[in-house]
Symmetry: C2
């Protein structure tokens, strides 16, 4: 198959840190242009907005949308309507209604829409899913803690409405849990700790249950000092799984099964190329739905103001 001609929409930190190295390492792509009112890339034709980029490059097959969340719906909709294949950075929209609409439009247009949950491409996720598929889940413990000052310096948007606070990393944990656990699970109780000067939580405790009564407890916290904890532990009827270091390390029954360097975005772009080649869509709303459920159903308690 021929290379995918790609345009990048939004040229921020995630594009420089992750998308560009992944594109350089993944066969099958030609980066033709970028669109961003404030930023550009060396040797890549740059446009102030996506519509201008699409007008100037009718040969573009696909766009990767990496703009702030509240801009994504209108951009993705326009790109889909113009017949482009679309990769959406996580989360796939500011609201669930937007994502449902994009699914409808992509389906009508018969083009690929890929809601890219990058953490699902961590090295241990696929093996964890296989191992759990054959077992009965008894108890799951998700611990996702990092120092917001280290991992999100100066990102004031994270504390604004729609910024999701600690769910910005927490949704990565939920994207892994929904991928590896063999059954859906449902929120039973949630407590969101919101700094007195912020709109979004700095920490969250979530209790879910699956249809067979397994408990899934999640502990998200932005107030970690020192190294981050990005761990998922699963007790089953036939042993224990630990997927730690954000999915880079997998232990089964106390034995190290796999440990590898993180190459999430390379996997993500390889997957997008497969989807485009086969004309399929992959949009799993479940991680964002769990976050919306926590905001809808959670108890909010006020905690100390956050001063960066």
């Amino acid at each position: 198959m021929s290379d995918v001609s790609l345009g990048l929409v939004g040229v921020g930190k995630i594009v420089r840190d992750q998308h560009l190295p992944a594109l350089a390492a993944t066969p099958g792509y030609r980066l033709l242009a970028s669109a961003d009112p404030h930023a550009s890339l060396p040797e890549v034709p740059a446009y102030a907005d996506m519509a201008s980029m699409l007008d100037a490059h009718p040969e573009l097959d696909a766009v990767a949308i990496c703009t702030p969340t509240h801009l994504r719906h209108a951009q993705a909709r326009l790109a889909l309507q113009r017949g482009k294949q679309v990769l959406l950075e996580k989360p796939p929209g500011a609201t669930l209604s937007e994502v449902e609409d994009l699914i409808d439009v992509a389906s009508e247009q018969g083009v690929t829409l890929f809601a890219a949950w990058h953490s699902r491409f961590a090295p241990g996720v696929a093996r964890a899913r296989e191992w759990l598929a054959e077992r009965r889940i008894e108890r799951v413990e998700i611990v996702w803690k990092e120092d917001v000052r280290v991992w999100h310096p100066g990102q004031a948007w994270i504390w604004q409405p729609g910024g999701m606070g600690v769910f910005d990393p927490g949704i990565n944990a939920l994207s892994i849990a929904t991928a590896i656990l063999p059954q859906a699970f449902f929120l039973r109780q949630a407590r969101l700790l919101v700094p007195s000067n912020c709109q979004t939580p700095i920490a969250a405790e979530l209790s879910f249950a699956d249809p067979d009564g397994a408990t899934i407890e999640a502990d998200f916290d932005f107030r970690q000092s020192g190294p981050p904890t990005w761990d998922i532990h699963v007790e089953t009827d036939a042993g224990r799984l630990s997927l730690t270091q954000g999915g880079c390390r997998l232990s089964l029954d106390g034995q190290l099964s796999l440990e590898a360097e993180e190459r999430e975005y390379a996997g993500l772009y390889a997957r997008f190329a497969e989807l485009v080649a086969s004309g399929r869509r992959e949009v799993d709303v479940a991680p964002l739905r769990h976050v919306a459920d926590a905001f809808l159903y959670g108890q909010r308690d006020v905690t100390d103001a956050f001063i960066e």
Copy 2:
């Protein structure tokens, strides 16, 4: 077709006020039993829980689930797994993940699941939908205001997590708007006013847009004194529609088109009978999704404590 043998799950105020009169007025039903740990109905066999009712009455075709929201998912899931047709009071779940699961289970079982948005059966809704289907929407104004002390006396749950506050009536407005407007719409901004001693909003201002740029403004308020305001006004390229009094009165271009008594639950049970007879499902998640979107994406401001 033969009558639907029905069991009521949960025998609270909504059942006495609405379900029983509607069942009495709608052909095609036989009320066989009820399940509620604290309440029963004259001359109807009563059970403390749904499982006991289903065990005692294998001839039951269907159940109507009218329990507090957080109990509905487990009950509906069990009823569907036992092959029963299920009517769910609004909202169809405490969270969106629960509703998606019920859709999957109903589909696997091949039985009817009906998410019953009662306000969609208000007299003017069907005609409003027809009239708007042929027009281009320019501007929508939704005003849904009532005195919480009059309409929800003593309902402390409404202020607890999951109680949804002013969205408990507001979701009725959203269920009508999503039924009559020809296109989906998306939240652009929301402000939720939350009493300092409550978890859920007492008022909300929502701004939506549709894909063609029409604006939809919604104003929900529990602090109304005097009669309620339950109105939707739509400006189109070919005239103005006003659906007022909760959908009982429809004006088109300033002319009264329709005015009728509210018989929502009779319409709702007639629809359920049709769905059961034809083996279909009707679960529109959109109204609950809009509420979750507002909680996820809205700005929360604290207002005066609520003292009933």
